[in-house]
């Protein structure tokens, strides 16, 4: 593999040779440099930025495709509805709760797993592979498996194991869970934590393995306890990896649609904003309202993203400066 020293930025790699029409030459060179970038840039602006501008415009319209005669300018009416409609307010709350719970739980479990996998033991490679597996199940398939094969109250594996375990002690009245109807949001959270923990584990494991070991060994020499080493050396080193994992995870989980759609169909207070918006425009045909809700999601994401960008930027700057 290449060494770290190779990763330096390459400024002025092809500085223009002195010439008469230096200015025009330099301009041509700059454009030659930009040329490979332009197709990707233009494509993205057309496909992602333009639609958002349209969303922004529609969000100020009173537009329901089922009643075409009433289309008109609505001002901030749609935004007021987003923030006052009980269902949509509930969706905002659910989105926040879902994202925070999934990110925190998968970070904590992922950290524990990464710490374990950082040690050498028999079959570590295979254990790592098994742990990655949940992340490599198609999300819709994973949600279906959780709904039908694991959480189903009559023949799901979880209740099956409870029945089996209780029967070992001669009991035929085992406790039976029905998470999907009693705590549906919990069911969504559990299935998402299961899928996202491997992601966090991989990032944190990479962080652990990039730890400078000389300081850890020096601390051991000085008689530091494993806890003290973890608390004062490992954790500070892992901080940016925790942030990175958390924020990348948050970006994906805020947008989650598959699990909510498949597990609960947004019922019983599990509809998050992406699901609510989907319902609003796809079934209720309230285009203006759906767009306003979309803009609210973007504003929320920008808030999170400002932090995300800062973190990614600090890692990135470090790398670019090498």
């Amino acid at each position: 593999m290449t060494t770290a020293t190779a990763r330096i930025s390459r400024p002025g790699h092809a500085t223009a040779k002195p010439s008469r029409n230096r200015a025009s030459r330099e301009r041509a060179l700059a454009w030659a440099r930009r040329a490979p970038l332009l197709p990707a840039l233009i494509f993205l602006i057309v496909v992602t930025q333009l639609p958002f501008v349209v969303t922004l415009i529609i969000s100020f319209l009173n537009w329901n495709s089922l009643s075409p005669g009433t289309t008109g300018f609505a001002g901030f009416e749609n935004y007021v509805t987003v923030l006052t409609d009980p269902d949509l307010r509930q969706a905002i709350f659910t989105t926040i709760l879902l994202t925070v719970a999934v990110v925190l739980a998968s970070l904590v479990i992922g950290l524990g797993l990464a710490l374990l996998l950082d040690k050498k033991f028999i079959g570590r490679g295979l254990a790592r592979t098994l742990l990655i597996a949940p992340f490599l199940v198609v999300p819709v398939a994973a949600a279906l498996i959780w709904k039908h094969a694991l959480l189903n109250p009559t023949y799901g594996l979880i209740n099956g194991i409870l029945t089996w375990a209780w029967s070992l002690f001669g009991s035929d009245t085992p406790p039976q869970l029905d998470l999907l109807s009693q705590a549906p949001l919990m069911a969504v959270i559990i299935s998402l934590v299961w899928q996202w923990t491997p992601f966090m584990m991989l990032i944190l494991l990479a962080g652990l393995q990039s730890r400078p070991m000389d300081t850890v060994e020096a601390a051991q020499m000085d008689g530091a306890t494993p806890w003290a080493i973890f608390r004062h050396l490992t954790l500070p080193h892992l901080r940016q990896y925790l942030e990175l994992g958390g924020l990348l995870g948050a970006i994906y989980i805020v947008q989650n649609f598959d699990a909510v759609f498949t597990l609960t169909s947004g019922g019983l207070g599990t509809a998050n904003l992406p699901y609510a918006i989907y319902q609003t425009f796809y079934y209720a045909n309230e285009y203006g309202l759906a767009s306003a809700a979309g803009v609210v999601v973007v504003i929320g994401t920008i808030l999170v993203a400002t932090f995300a960008l800062r973190t990614v930027f600090s890692l990135f700057k470090k790398e670019a400066a090498r």
């Binding site: 570590r124 199940v137 279906l144 498996i145 994992g245």
Partner: protein, 304 residues
């Protein structure tokens, strides 16, 4: 491998330091075998716990519907391929193949498009960087932070107006835009690994652009390109929301097929498991193939 070397170095130093075991505290560190047995055991238990849903899904897919729906579970029931036959439409006559082919088409073609757009862009951001290339990088990333739901309505209305609804090509373009920012970030980090000395040497030797690309850049960047392609393939293959809104009977992808396939009538557990296995297989293969570079890719190149 750059990711493994620190760990390897650490193990050797740990070994060399153990014989001089005169320290009083930090016992666990001094006795790596005992500590590692406990850690290994815990890791294995948790690994099995996390893998159980996957293993259960695979086992159930080979059971008959009656054996799949028992409480307590029939772990040792006879194995059969019935569920797979059912999934492929033996009795219902509804074949999943069109949706699987749509998924493959959308995922592969969008990945090719992503690479065609991302590799030159990454070149202009790492090997011969434009001015303010970091700003461009962050513009790419910021588009990824905009949730799909914030743009989906105009896209849907546009597709409806120009008659591109239920058209696989429109979906391919959407998947390309969805993966392009990630691919640019990944590719930049992989291209940045090409040693400057090698590029300079090639320039001094008078190698032209094509030759430099082929002989200097491609060999170093190839594993990274492969990993980027695999990760983009996975994201496209997994996608549900855009596919659900923008496609229908003709261009519906496998995840869409899967959501519409669970009937409320009769037993269907083994069939659901078989469907989940079939649809997850390409992702499992792609994921394990990219395992070495998965972290670097998923962290957008920020973590090596």
């Amino acid at each position: 491998m750059s990711t493994l070397s620190p760990a390897a170095a650490r193990t050797t130093s740990e070994k060399s330091s153990t014989p001089s075991g005169t320290r009083r505290r930090g016992k666990s560190r001094m006795d790596p075998t005992r500590n590692n047995t406990a850690a290994g055991l815990a890791a294995w238990l948790l690994a099995l716990l996390f893998a159980t849903p996957v293993l259960w899904m695979i086992l159930t897919s080979f059971h008959s519907e009656t054996d799949a729906a028992t409480n307590p579970p029939s772990v040792a029931a006879n194995l059969t391929l019935d569920a797979y036959k059912e999934f492929f439409g033996e009795t219902s006559g509804v074949s999943p193949w069109p949706s699987l082919i749509n998924s493959a088409t959308a995922s592969i073609l969008s990945t090719v498009l992503v690479l065609v757009l991302a590799i030159p862009a990454a070149y202009a951001l790492s090997i011969r960087p434009v001015k303010k290339w970091t700003d461009v990088m962050f513009f790419f990333l910021s588009t990824k932070m905009m949730p799909v739901v914030a743009a989906i309505l105009p896209l849907y209305l546009f597709a409806k107006t120009v008659g591109a609804l239920d058209n696989i090509w429109f979906l391919i373009l959407m998947y390309t835009s969805m993966n392009l920012p990630i691919a640019v970030w990944m590719m930049r980090s992989f291209l940045a690994e090409v040693p400057v000395e090698m590029l300079e040497a090639a320039q001094i030797d008078g190698a032209n652009l094509i030759l430099t690309l082929r002989k200097v850049i491609a060999p170093v960047a190839m594993p990274g390109i492969a990993a980027t392609a695999l990760i983009c393939f996975i994201f496209s293959w997994n996608e549900l929301l855009l596919a659900r809104v923008l496609t229908g009977v003709v261009a519906g992808t496998a995840p869409v097929f899967l959501t519409g396939f669970v009937s409320s009538q009769g037993l269907f557990l083994a069939k659901v498991c078989a469907a989940a296995v079939v649809i997850s297989l390409p992702v499992l293969f792609a994921g394990f193939a990219a395992q070495d570079k998965l972290v670097q890719g998923l962290s957008l190149g920020a973590v090596k």
